[in-house]
Amino acid sequence: MGDEYLAEPEDEVAPSMWPENIGDKHQKQFKMENLGKGQDALKDVRFQEKPSSVDFQRLMEMANSEKGVSQMQYFVKHWEYKRANTARLLKEQIGLLCQQRKEIEQKKQQILEEQHFQDESYYAVKRQVPILDEVYKDEWKRPSKKSDDLCHNQELKIDAEYDSISYWKERAMQLEKTLEASLQREHSLEEKLEENIKNLQSHTPVEEFSGMLQRADYFLHLVLQSAPIVIAHQDTDLRYRFIFNHFPTLADEDVIGKTDYEILSGEGIEEMNNVKKEVMASGIPTKREFIFNTPLFGAKTFVTYIEPVFSKSGETIGVNYVAMDITDQVKRREKMADIRVREAVQKAKETELSRSLHITEETMRAKQMLATMSHEIRSPLSGVLSMAEILATTKLDKEQYQLLEVMLSSGDLVLQLINDILDLSKVESGAMKLESTTFRPREVVKHVLQTAAASLKKELTLEGCIGDDVPVEVTGDVLRIRQILTNLISNAVKFTHEGKVGINLHVLDKQPPGCRIKGVQLHMKTHSASSVTAAEHSSASLRNCDKDTLGCSNHEDACHTGIPPNNNFGEHDGGEEAVWLRCDVYDTGIGIPEESLPLLFKRYMQASADHARKYGGTGLGLAICKQLVELMGGTLNVVSKENDGSTFSFILPCKITVKEDHSDDPDVMPSSHGDFTTSDIEGSFLFKPQARPCLLSSGVSVMKNKFIGCNLMSYDPPNRLENCKLFSNGFASAEDNSANSTSTASCQSNGPSTRSTDEEQHDNAMVIDLNRQAEWISSSQGGTTSVSGPNIHEERGPCKVLEEKSLHKKSKCSQSSNKAKILLVEDNKVNIMVAKSMLEQLGHGIDIVNNGMQAIHAVQRCQYDIILMDVHMPEMDGLQATKFIRSFENTGCWDTSVKPEHDQMISGSAMSSDCARIRKQGKRVPIIAMTANSFSESAEECLAAGMDSYISKPVNFQNIKECLQRYLPSQ
């Protein structure tokens, strides 16, 4: 098929692959000899088989194109070269033949000459040798100068006698034969030559050319057979005129004469056609990838080389294109690219991650460092402070006392700061655990205000207003709530120079019952109404008071020690209902500029550097408040106007413990109260300006001996009782939680039962006028004005006693006056030794057992004041043992698996029955876990098992001392 060359751009190389005999040695005149531009080279080419994929008419046109002509010229040149070659070869052959002939003639002549010579010299008579005549005649003309070696040789072979007739005869015959053979050879050569020439003549140039093309086509097909390419030519209308497609999806008939659009549809066709048109228009070949998605062959990618075809006159008459399916390659390429991108992303991520990890680590380390340092500083600082407090109780002159006061307040400040830092890092590290206790919101508000009023150095009015719908008791982490309130109030006081500061507490729209309080992980303790005794309540609230009055120095430990006994952890009362309490702390202070609001809750941020200079502080307080509120599942917001005051509001979910029947009397809505002096509405407090500094600040012991509590009361007799209770609580429960008869009695006045009657009077409408020192001194002198003297003394008595005791304990706790019997349950010898030594130093008697089982036996035998229990022990662990002991305390009989042995029963029957009796009265031995803080021992588990608290191992003197102080009953 002669058309293939059109689509073969690398034709210059191709011929070399073709067999050399394509152009044959034919030197007769040939049409193409004269072929030049303008002649149709293919005019005579015959196409024996018509390939359906070609429009031959078009081929003719194509041949007319410049390329076609040059192609033809190339063919001609090639052919000419071949012909010249053949001519040369033929000439050479003829030359050879001529030489042969010459030789033969020479020989012939020689023979003749010889003969002639012989005739002349030896025979007188000239004898005709007819046989040689002919030859001779011809040969004779030729010059023969030399004799032939061959002849001489032959001469020797003649047997006959030399110079005899027979000799000559024979010789003549021999020569004749040679001549004949030679002639014959010549003849045959000539024949052969002629034959050859005849053969050659049978091929016309056209046939020759067709054959050549056919062979080329054959080779092309051979090469292209397995090539996944499409070769095509399209005319100016982009109709197919030729196509080669190794894997045709369409018959060629369907393609020729049609456009792409007519054959295919779908994605990519349009684009390809545009490019083809572009190529035709610009005349510049191009190579591109096209992505097709056609119904015919699906999604495929082709790389296509498109080149324009020009006619002789330079017009574009169509395009050729070669397309190759590179779908797989593209897929692979895309996959590679994808992988590379992913790798890059991965790498970037990794770097980012490692960077942030690094940063996090750094931050954590820094925080840890800060926390550790704070902790390290705190211990000696509390030592300094407590010493100073003790020093304050000694005889000092006025100046010394004042100095000491400064020292204490500065120390308190540092302590506060350190506690803040610790709190913050605790919250941030997630280590902050909320303790939930039942508390009275009214009391909390009142106490916070009281505390603030006590340390107030300005002419400010403090007011508190609690909504009627606020439950009497709710459950929550009162310590934290108090901390938040105290913080906000002290902030408010700090930035308010005149006017008032106040707290509004009310219930937000009640959340639907059963609504889970998100984010709150409280160990909700249940005080089911029946089991809660007034004493318990008081002890709980006592502790709260204690914590508050002791100030911040106890916040840290509150986490560990703030768990009152007689609480069952892990039980949930399904009937509990949650309320959202909203608390607003407002002031009429300097306010906060709007631009500073966003920074307000950031750590170490204050509204401005100016403020920081002027008012001091660390800028940690609000950050802690926010984090604490959020930890409890609430939110903290601020509304403020510069020079007009600020209002900090937080909402908190709290669980209602004791249901209350509230008659929502609209007349006594808290908002309606405006007249402070007649604030007899429930839950409204007012503290008028006073100037006694540090009245109830953390330095409790400083004013221990000053009768402040009682003096205060004298102004407002009805409040005296309650107030005194407050203070006595503060002192008594600082060291001692035992149900002290006096304090319990006074506390119970706070219980719900007595409350109602108190309310009817004026109990909750408290006006504490804290006046200048002079005033209260004078009033203390005239304390009998409105209140009967004995009453005061009655209250003072127990206060003083307790104070002394606590002081006493604080200074040195190793007095054996309250020597307790302690059971140490521990399996590790080293631990035993250390703990024993500590306990002995504290002056307690201890029994030591090595596992839970032994502990149970020990408890069966004897009564202990406290049990220190290792958690992880062989045979029976501390949790198990605690469960058994608690179950015995509740039921009065031991579980069968740990029943005391018979003989012990008998021998100790009296005692055990005694023990049981005591326990049934509510005696519950405190069990303190000693946890190793490892994965297998969690504090929650300990508490769930019925333990009262835990100290972490390794036990240190401080921990064990504090723990014993809390849980050992005083005697």
């Binding site: 590790n828 631990n831 250390v834 130093q841 190793a932 390794p954 240190n956």
Partner: protein
């Protein structure tokens, strides 16, 4: 003589604190030592050393068995951890924590590796303790002469 020994002792103990061999808990022990229990630290330390040596032996034996009982190994590690925590042997304690993690993972290789570490640290500590006790004895021996 006694003063030199005392300063040597102080240097040794300070070094032990500085290198993290010991932590605050050891100070607790020192605090507990008074006239009523003059040899308290020595007793505890000796007990710790003996106990520790025993436990390390047990651990090695347990880990040498074809079927390691990791619970048993863990309980030994726990004991050592408790002891070391009580005397303030910080490094040993921390390694014990690591050791217990490997126990949880049931990684014998990890355990063995950590055991080597524990052993090294423990014997290092024990040597120092022994040096410390020796110094203390020498110091005590000095005093009657004065």
């Amino acid at each position: 003589m006694a003063a030199a020994l005392t300063s040597q002792l102080h240097a040794l103990v300070n070094n032990m604190f500085a290198t993290g061999l010991l932590d605050d808990q050891f100070q607790q022990l020192q605090m507990l030592q008074d006239f009523s229990a003059p040899d308290f630290v020595s007793e505890v330390v000796t007990l710790f050393c003996d106990d520790g040596e025993r436990i390390i032996g047990e651990l090695a034996r347990e880990l040498d068995k074809p079927n390691v009982d990791f619970d048993r190994v863990d309980s030994f590690a726990h004991q050592l951890k408790g002891s070391s925590a009580s005397v303030g042997a910080q490094k040993v304690k921390n390694t014990c924590i690591q050791f217990r993690e490997f126990c949880q993972q049931r990684s014998r290789d990890g355990c063995l590796k950590t055991l080597d570490l524990v052993r090294t640290e423990f014997y290092d500590l024990r040597n120092k303790f022994q040096a410390m006790l020796q110094l203390e004895q020498q110091i005590q021996a000095c005093y009657p002469k004065h």
